[in-house]
Subunit: 107 residues, 2 copies
């Protein structure tokens, strides 16, 4: 086993869980915070500030890109990673919708 049975869930449940999952790693939380708060959008700056190997950071960046949260722009020989604010806001809304519609309780 070991494989998530996506077929038995709705697309919306799978999508929502996927957003949560991508955000569910401290390195990816840290990357987003560094980019936004410290303006460290250059890939190599993130490697130095966070303290994981370059290959590892690159992998985490790829996952954040996979849900559209980050846009990468070539800047000379570096890469500048920026938060896609439209996507950011959309995902925040989706998460809030989940929290707000799941409020009623049985007991």
């Amino acid at each position: 086993m070991g494989i998530t049975k996506s077929q038995i869930f709705t697309e919306s449940q799978n999508d929502l869980a996927h957003f949560f999952k991508v955000l569910g790693h401290p390195a990816r939380v840290a990357i987003l915070q560094h980019i936004s708060v410290q303006n460290a959008c250059i890939c190599n700056d993130l490697v130095e500030e966070i303290g994981l190997a370059q290959a590892t950071i690159s992998q985490h960046l790829k996952e954040l890109k996979s849900i559209g949260l980050l846009d990468g722009e070539v800047e000379g020989k570096s890469m500048c990673y920026c938060i896609n604010m439209d996507r950011w806001n959309t995902i925040q809304e989706q998460l809030n919708l989940f929290f707000n519609t799941t409020k009623s309780n049985c007991c």
Copy 2:
């Protein structure tokens, strides 16, 4: 390796990532929705409605309990799982705080 390097992140980053991670599985999203929307708070009802093995659902319930999102109450020979609304709201606020304070962008 395969082990997350929690030591290099702040407690707040680890906590936040952990909340996201627990919510990052469609079965756990489904469980929360079933409990709240369909009032199916009895463990066995969840097993039947969701369609995963009883042992698997029990494991997912345990993870939701681990971040305080679910309270379990014995009800005869069954268990009634309810959402802890205080915790629910607190976590929603934390996630929104993250989204709101990570808004500013560099490029």
